[in-house]
Amino acid sequence: MISVKSLTKTFGRTVAVNNISFEVSKGEVLGFLGPNGAGKTTTMRMLTCYLIPDSGTATVAGCDIVEDSLEVRKHVGYLPENAPLYLDMDVVSYLEFVADVRGIPSSEKAGRIRRMVETCGLESVVGRYVGELSKGFKQRVGLAQTLIHDPEILILDEPTTGLDPSQIIEIRQLIKEIGKERTVILSTHILPEVEATCSRVLIINEGEIAASGTPEELHSVAGGEDSIYVAIKADDEGVPEKLSRISGVTAVKKVGDLDDGYIRFLLKSKDGARVGEEVFRAAVENGWTINELHRETLSLEDIFLKLTTKEKSA
């Protein structure tokens, strides 16, 4: 559906996007993840024909973004960051305007607008001016605007920034709903968002793709080890040695003394689930008491930080 080949864009001396290539197939929800200024917005702006790449090509719905830019724009619904809207229009005339520019025949217009109002939950604000709306409703109007021509492809730039937690959940739900039959690219720097909405993730850092794959794939790419925390009370001194003898454990560290004589240890292992069981068995054999045993897998957050800070230090 979208095919990007070595896209590059520079502004003056800064390279905003450096030789990026990726593919998005039909029905996928791709998340662009990256720190601010990583090149997410610039990439999106090139795909929506707002900017022209310095080099490289991309096709969207089979059309070249430079040669066939009007065709591309017809197939895409784009919501820029912060959902800029014409504040001096009321919701319906705003949607009418977009429908007119998109060339939707006047016989279908009213029906489409009604459907957008329903889909995006705008019933209560239909007659209001866009400028008077809360941020959450503005975002919904923005989404309605991107959907009015029933596009195959949706490109959403940070669709949930600036919203309160309940609005974020609503908008995410809405994106999930409307993304069912569409190809979606959305950018964000909020990690749970990616885990909640995206089928595939592209981590962009300093204009380049740092990693790509499903959230699970990224986990293995980052070489993630699980952390197992265990708090043990024991009479003998050999607890750390015994723990490190458990197969699969790569490191044992004492991380703190708790009340009542418990000592907390941190174990590192690639196979956290099994190691947890072994720790329990060892405790039973040696007569230790345990009052804490839990495992933390590497979150997308850790992967993200690992990938985006690795390059800087290198």
């Binding site: 702006r45 929506t48 024909c49 707002y50 900017l51 022209i52 009007l70 065709e71 724009r73 017809k74 895409v76 784009y78 820029p80 960051e81 912060n82 800029p84 809207l85 014409y86 504040l87 001096d88 229009m89 005339s93 305007f97 977009v98 007119d100 520019v101 998109r102 060339g103 605007q145």
Partner: protein, 236 residues
């Protein structure tokens, strides 16, 4: 074409979505009427010539007020990104905006026909002169609008757009003025006199309709609209 029309409709309606349009029209007509009638009864002649003499000076401030918002606000609010990622060409967007501001100017001018009615009731003015005057006003207004619209695309600050528009239009307007021509070398005087927006206006508003003057104004409009398209493209 339908896309130009959609943009035109939105821009034109947005003048009337706020009180600005009404304030604008009222002040424009009030000022024009007052300045005109102040001298009218003194001279005691049923002619609108002095009205058309005042008009470019009113346009100097009123036209930039019409155009300052058109691109600067889009850039500031970020709707430019929205507009230019809709399936419209840069030319269509520029034309839609220009036509909207032009129509708004025509509406203000049409309302000033009240003055012509009053003058006709009081005396017997030359209809050819009034027609020529209005034609000149429409042409010079269109030229001012094209300049203002282009300059609005260069900044995201409406006030800056307004000020640079007033200054630019003023310079281009007085370029062909006798006062300026006296101060420049002889060889360049004809160039200034040809390029000046004011010199062409004088002959048209006197009722002397020369196709060269009309072509001149249309070229000025075309030239600045072209620059406008280029400046919109330059974002890429």
């Amino acid at each position: 074409m339908s896309r130009t029309l959609a943009i035109f409709k939105r821009e034109f309606a947005s003048y009337f979505n706020s009180p600005i349009a009404y304030i604008y029209v009222t002040v424009f007509l009030g000022l024009a009427g007052w300045l005109f009638f102040k001298g009218f009864f003194l001279v005691g002649e049923a002619s609108m010539r002095s009205f058309f003499g005042i008009l470019p000076w009113l346009f100097l401030f009123f036209v930039p007020a019409i155009t300052m918002r058109l691109w600067a606000e889009e850039r500031k609010v970020g709707t430019m990104e929205l507009l230019m990622t809709l399936p419209v060409t840069d030319t269509e967007a520029v034309m839609g905006k220009f036509l909207a501001s032009f129509t708004f100017l025509l509406v203000s001018l049409a309302l000033s026909l009240v003055l012509a009615v009053v003058v006709s009731a009081l005396g017997d003015p030359d209809p050819g002169e009034i027609f020529g005057g209005y034609l000149g006003a429409v042409l010079i207004g269109a030229a001012f609008l094209a300049i203002g619209l282009f300059l609005s695309s260069l900044t995201e600050n409406q006030i800056v757009a307004f000020i640079i528009s007033v200054v630019t239009i003023f310079v281009l307007f007085i370029l062909g003025d006798d006062f300026v021509l006296m101060g420049v070398p002889n060889w360049i005087a004809p160039v200034f006199s040809f390029l000046g927006l004011g010199a062409h206006y004088d002959s048209v508003s006197r009722g002397v309709i020369d196709t060269r003057d009309i072509i001149y104004y249309l070229s000025v409009v075309g030239f600045f609209l072209y620059l406008n398209v280029k400046s919109i493209e330059s974002r890429k």
